[in-house]
């Protein structure tokens, strides 16, 4: 790729991780863990797409769940109405992505001109509106009750689905890494650091922000499609604020402005959710595990704005700086 020297070490780590993950289902014969990992991958995709907005472009959207929901619903509806086969499944992913892309284009065009406060509020309102539509349009969505559908037969095997999701994760990761390292991605980072200066350099920042929101929306729709398959059920809870909050927590705790960060966040949050709700039988306080994450999240925003991965990267680059030229990697978020 374009940065061979830097990437070689990284790539080796990624390759080792990938081999471990590929070997995992054959080594460990644990159904729960396989399902949990699948979940982690799906939310990792969602959190990465959210980080394109929050970490790379520096805009806070509270409406990310609507793209997730669009993906979930288009997959569920097409598999139920046409037939549960692989081509239909792939087609439904494409349909979901196109719909999400169109929607995010219009939402972005309307809202991204506004200041961050208004943007956050308006995305919240639009996703709320879409949620109401989904709840009222009962003939298609079955409202809050949702509906079950048959997944393609191949996915009956949890391990096959595990590999499918893992493949999606790797592909999305590679595409997004290429995206954020491209000149376009650099402009997005410039917008995050100082929008006014970027504009005075001659970039039409609105265009770039809309592109960023389209990319994020399309990827979120993919995550939604996969999530619908993993549950074989959809209802309107997939479009609620909770999904956006999950993505937000994962991104903030894992580390904004990196692609690995949201993945780490997804691992941390999903595992914690799994084990803390297990503990809840003995200690009822753990039923409200989200409190701990809320507090960690607040502390992270104040003290570690770069999250787990960002803080580690800063440490590493500082350590390296002692005997080498400074790395351009650790970028301070705008204060």
């Amino acid at each position: 790729m374009n940065q061979p020297a830097l990437l070689s070490k990284q790539n080796i780590i990624f390759a080792i991780l990938l081999v471990v993950l590929v070997a995992f289902p054959f080594v460990a014969d644990s159904r729960t863990l396989t399902i949990l990992l699948t979940q982690i991958f799906i939310f990792g995709i969602l959190a990465m797409s959210y980080d394109i907005l929050l970490g790379y472009t520096g805009i806070v959207s509270f409406g990310h769940a609507m793209f997730f929901g669009i993906g979930a619903y288009s997959t569920a509806i097409m598999l139920k109405e046409i037939q549960p086969t692989i081509p239909v499944f792939i087609g439904s992913i494409v349909v979901g992505m196109v719909l999400a892309g169109i929607l995010s284009f219009f939402v972005g065009l309307l809202t991204l001109r506004l200041k961050s406060h208004f943007f956050a509020m308006l995305t919240l309102a639009i996703s709320g509106l879409l949620l109401v539509v989904a709840e009222k349009w009962r003939s298609v969505t079955k409202g809050n009750d949702g509906f079950t559908f048959r997944a393609p037969d191949v996915f009956k095997d949890r391990i096959v689905f595990y590999f499918c999701v893992l493949a999606c994760l790797v592909i999305v990761f590679l595409i997004l890494r290429r995206f954020v390292n491209s000149p376009l991605g650099r402009v997005l980072i410039a917008i995050r650091e100082n929008e006014q200066r970027t504009r005075s350099l001659g970039f039409k920042t609105l265009h770039y922000k809309v592109i960023s929101s389209i990319v994020a929306g399309v990827i979120a729709s993919l995550a939604g499609s996969l999530y619908a398959i993993s549950l074989r059920f959809v209802n309107t809870s997939m479009m609620t604020m909770d999904i956006t909050l999950d993505a937000l927590l994962m991104t903030i705790i894992g580390g904004v402005g990196t692609l690995v960060g949201p993945l780490v966040g997804s691992v941390v949050i999903e595992f914690a959710q799994h084990y803390l709700s297990g503990l809840a039988r003995d200690y009822p306080i753990f039923e409200r595990w989200i409190i701990f994450f809320g507090i960690i999240y607040i502390l992270a925003v104040v003290f570690f704005p770069k999250g787990i991965v960002g803080s580690i990267l800063t440490k590493i680059s500082k350590w390296k700086q002692r005997d080498q030229v400074p790395l351009p990697e650790s970028k301070e978020r705008s204060k």
């Binding site: 200041k115 309102a125 409200r288 104040v302």
Partner: protein, 290 residues
């Protein structure tokens, strides 16, 4: 005719409750440039502490006092711990106040249990009057009266007293106020605590009106509060009253005539305002939209 009157009363009562929430939001935003996404949390905490006290002491008045006190205390803690560290950074403000909202909402479930708590109207406010063919529910009138009294008091404070003068000047240009030797930080704290107590009071008044309280209602009402703030104009106190009444009336009429659109209409209203007049309908500050 009687239908029209009861719809108007309904809308006004809801509007007043939203106004109590939005008044704090709009002043905090206008003065401090902070959009408090945790405002709904204060609303719920006011409702829960007030209702629990009301259930213990069987006095609605003590419940109201306790809910206001809760609002003041929470407002103080929040301003000191949550708002001050991220002052001036919009993205962090949005993130941190939303996180605090999450914590407040979950703490409600820990402290008071996750189930909805039923609330009854105190006996002296229960029942209704019959005027001709119109049935007027007493409690709704009570809310409207309280809302107007509070508006009157704060309108007086804002326009006739020194502190009001400082707040209004701060909304328009806070650097200038600071340059004149006024400790704007203390004014911030005062406004924040006042806004928090208004939100808590709104929650408490809301409880008997809707009949039950639950942890998630904070976010639902906060969204309405945001809509009102946007429509009324950031920092405009009277604008938030007018917009709250507008939203309340639109909600009650739509809920009767076109129930499908009842929630959507406010969102659409806000979207239109934001796109064509981002500073709000009644705003007195001129601030560029980008």
């Amino acid at each position: 005719m009687d239908l029209l009157i009861s719809l108007v009363i309904n809308g006004l009562a809801t509007g007043m409750l939203i106004f109590l929430l939005a008044a704090g939001l709009t002043l905090i935003f206008g003065l401090m440039d902070v959009l408090n996404f945790a405002h709904g949390g204060l609303f719920v905490w006011g409702a829960y502490t007030g209702v629990v006290t009301y259930a213990y002491t069987e006095s609605f008045l003590i419940g109201i006092v306790v809910s206001i006190l809760t609002g003041i205390i929470l407002g103080f803690i929040m301003e000191k711990l949550i708002i001050t560290p991220v002052y001036g950074n919009h993205v962090q403000q949005i993130l941190i106040t939303l996180g605090f909202m999450l914590v407040l909402q979950e703490m409600i479930k820990v402290a008071f249990g996750p189930n909805a708590i039923p609330v009854t109207v105190p006996s002296y406010l229960a029942g209704s009057w019959e005027i001709g063919e119109v049935i007027v529910i007493k409690y709704r009138v009570f809310i409207i009266v309280v809302g107007f009294i509070i508006f009157g008091i704060f309108h007086y404070i804002l326009t006739r007293t020194k502190i009001g003068l400082i707040v209004r000047a701060g909304v328009i240009n806070k650097e200038m106020v600071q340059a004149l030797g006024i400790n704007i930080k203390r004014v911030f704290l005062f406004v924040f605590m006042t806004g928090a107590s208004l939100a808590a009071l709104g929650g408490m008044l809301m409880a008997p009106y809707s009949g039950s309280i639950y942890a998630e209602m904070g976010m639902e009402f906060a969204i309405l509060g945001f809509i009102v703030v946007v429509i009324g104009g950031m920092g405009s106190f009277s604008g938030s009253l007018l917009a709250a009444i507008l939203v309340g009336l639109a909600g009650s009429f739509m809920a009767y005539y076109v129930p499908y659109l009842s929630l959507a209409v406010n969102m659409i209203l806000m979207a239109i305002v934001l796109i064509f007049r981002p500073q709000g309908l009644f705003s007195m500050i001129r601030r560029e939209s980008t």
